[in-house]
Amino acid sequence: MATCSVLPEVLCNFPAISDQTIRMARKTIDDGFKGLVREYADVIDVLVQPLQWFLNYLERLFTTSPWVLVLAVMLVVVYLASRSRAITIGTALAMSAIGLVGLWQDTMVTLAIVTVSTLIAILIGLPIGIVMARSNRVQGVVNPVLDVMQTMPSFVYLIPVVVIFGIGKVPGLIAVVIYAVPPMIRLTNLGIRLVDRDVLEAADAFGSSPGQKLWNVQIPLALPTIMAGINQTIMMSLAMVVVASMVGVGGLGKNTLQAINNQFFTFGFLNGFALVAIAIIFDRASQAFGKRLQKHSEVVHG
């Protein structure tokens, strides 16, 4: 600290705002935020109620139905989406292994929340992505917000979510959606912006209205990119359910959290592998589905 002896104090130790002021500011913001939340508690409850119902319904459906039935439906869905025997057999094996190690119920809980959060992320992300693709100004505003959403440590989301919605499944769900929605928005935007200009001009030349152009040309041609967005969204919600278990989301995530706290090595890895298995099933099935939608572009004239 030789240099510090010659430099004035201000240039050596960063002149921070006094602890007291910061404490005051923090307290004011926190109290204000909490007050606001308390004031609108009824409104917030009403708003999240449908989510609660939907999530509970799906969770109950998945956990109380006989496993044979759930597995059969799952295999049918996977087969219809992928039309691939290998992926279907892989799904059957992976789900059987999960059942054998006693994680069936927990997996069903996780499956329910991932399904709901993916649906919500698509429902929110698609329109935002479309609006963003149509206006550079909206893109200029939304992009930095997405940057923040994607780089902010996922644990930090949990704080305001818990303050607003409390502890429980729905706050967890909301945290998962916030974490999983950016790729959906970004890739929808990108897909629409990359649509061939010549085809768009043709749509204009035939007198398309903006809506006709969107549904006949832009969305269909952007579909491969949008499908990649949906795939990313699913992967990110699977990753986030583990973090969301800290605010009361059950399932595989909660088990993982327990395993960390108690150093249950085997139990932790079993749950981890169960998550990996679901992720691979979702990924392969949705990618095969996306590829099948694009069948027309594979056969190129020689």
């Binding site: 043709a202 030349a205 209205s209 190129v300």
Partner: protein, 349 residues
């Protein structure tokens, strides 16, 4: 549906943030280079006046950068003009509101593109009904029309193929079928055949001429190929640096090129296919009644006339008008010299 001509009057297009601000300067004589270097605006089109005949093919010819693609996009206003008028059926397209323009594009125009611009996720049949989909016509009606036109352009059996499964020539047939299914009076063809192989191009030109003989649409055809222009055009306008340098029939342009630029194009042309018998004949008024053995129509090209005269083994032929009355005499020597001797432009100018 009766066809209407398209009248383009005093059309200017200046690309840049303040195009309208420079129209007066350009009218006063500012050059394209000056506008570009000192004012950062690009002169796209300058004082275009063309009247495109109803029910005929007008070809706009020019090299790349001449402004021909910009010009055709003013007819359905895919590009906004800076100044001027484009009149069709008494209405100025440049002054239409958004909804009027949309209706005009839906019902009066159809366009064929250089890069085909088909929808890759739709089959040939679904691509062909595209214009009618946009008009809101139910598929039960539109599919019937689409099948008819797919058959007319020679694509029967490919209805359920995707564009990627077809060759370039076949894709452009789909583009043509899509435009024709729209049943619009104006057919805009933006370098429609430029991306095709020479043989297929000639084939497609034949398809267009056959259909046009029956349909009599007002066709605007853009090309950089003079042979194509001469084969298709009832009227040809040649564009250079955003200005019309010459317009007229193919024969006008071949026989009287307006300047060196056009003359250099015309030198390579097969004149026998362009020049008509009546241009080379000796009029009857000078020579009294003719008693030559064979008759050729006045509008017949020299190449065809030469073939017929050689087959009949004669050196003179009677030239007759549409009603079969003799109007002149065609000498084989005059015919051959008109076919092979290009007028040396340097000598006359």
């Amino acid at each position: 549906m009766a066809s209407h001509g398209i009248e383009i009057r005093g059309l200017y297009k200046i690309f840049g943030p303040d195009g309208a601000g420079y129209v007066e300067a350009v009218k006063a004589g500012m050059t394209k280079a000056d506008l570009n270097e000192n004012h950062g605006h690009v002169l796209g089109l300058q004082d275009i006046n063309i009247s495109m005949p109803a029910g005929g093919i007008t070809v706009v010819m020019g090299l790349s950068g001449s402004g021909k693609s910009t010009l055709i996009r003013h007819i359905n206003r895919l590009i906004e003009p800076t100044a001027g008028e484009v009149i069709y059926d008494g209405a100025d397209i440049c002054r239409m509101t958004v909804s009027q323009l949309r209706e005009f594009r839906r019902h009066k125009t159809a366009m064929v593109f250089q890069k085909f611009a088909l929808l890759p996720h739709r089959t040939v049949l679904e691509n062909t009904v595209y214009g009618l989909d946009i008009q809101g016509i139910p598929r039960t009606d539109s599919l019937k029309k689409a099948r008819y036109w797919i058959d007319r352009v020679g694509l029967s059996g490919f209805e359920s193929h995707y564009p990627n499964q077809l060759s370039g020539g076949m894709q452009q047939r789909v583009g043509l079928a899509r435009a024709l299914t729209n049943d619009a009076d104006i057919l805009l063809m933006d370098e429609a055949y430029s991306a095709l192989d020479p043989l297929i191009r000639v084939d497609m030109q034949g398809v267009l001429l056959d259909l046009q003989a029956e349909l009599k649409k007002t066709v605007v055809f853009i090309t950089h190929d003079l042979d194509e222009a001469l084969r298709l055009g009832d009227k040809i306008a040649i564009l250079r640096d955003g200005q019309v340098v010459q317009q007229g029939t193919g024969q006008d342009i071949v026989l009287n090129p307006a300047d060196h630029y056009i003359a250099s194009f015309v030198r390579e042309v097969n004149r026998g296919r362009i020049i008509q018998a009546k241009t080379v004949m000796t009029p009857l008024g000078d020579l009294g009644t003719s008693s030559d053995s064979i008759a050729v129509p006045a509008s017949m090209t020299l190449e065809t006339a030469a073939r017929q005269m050689t087959l009949a083994n004669v050196t003179q032929a009677r030239v007759v008008d549409d009603s079969g009355l003799p109007v002149g005499r065609l000498d084989f020597s005059a015919l051959v010299s008109a076919m092979v001797t290009p007028t040396p432009h340097e000598a006359t100018g």
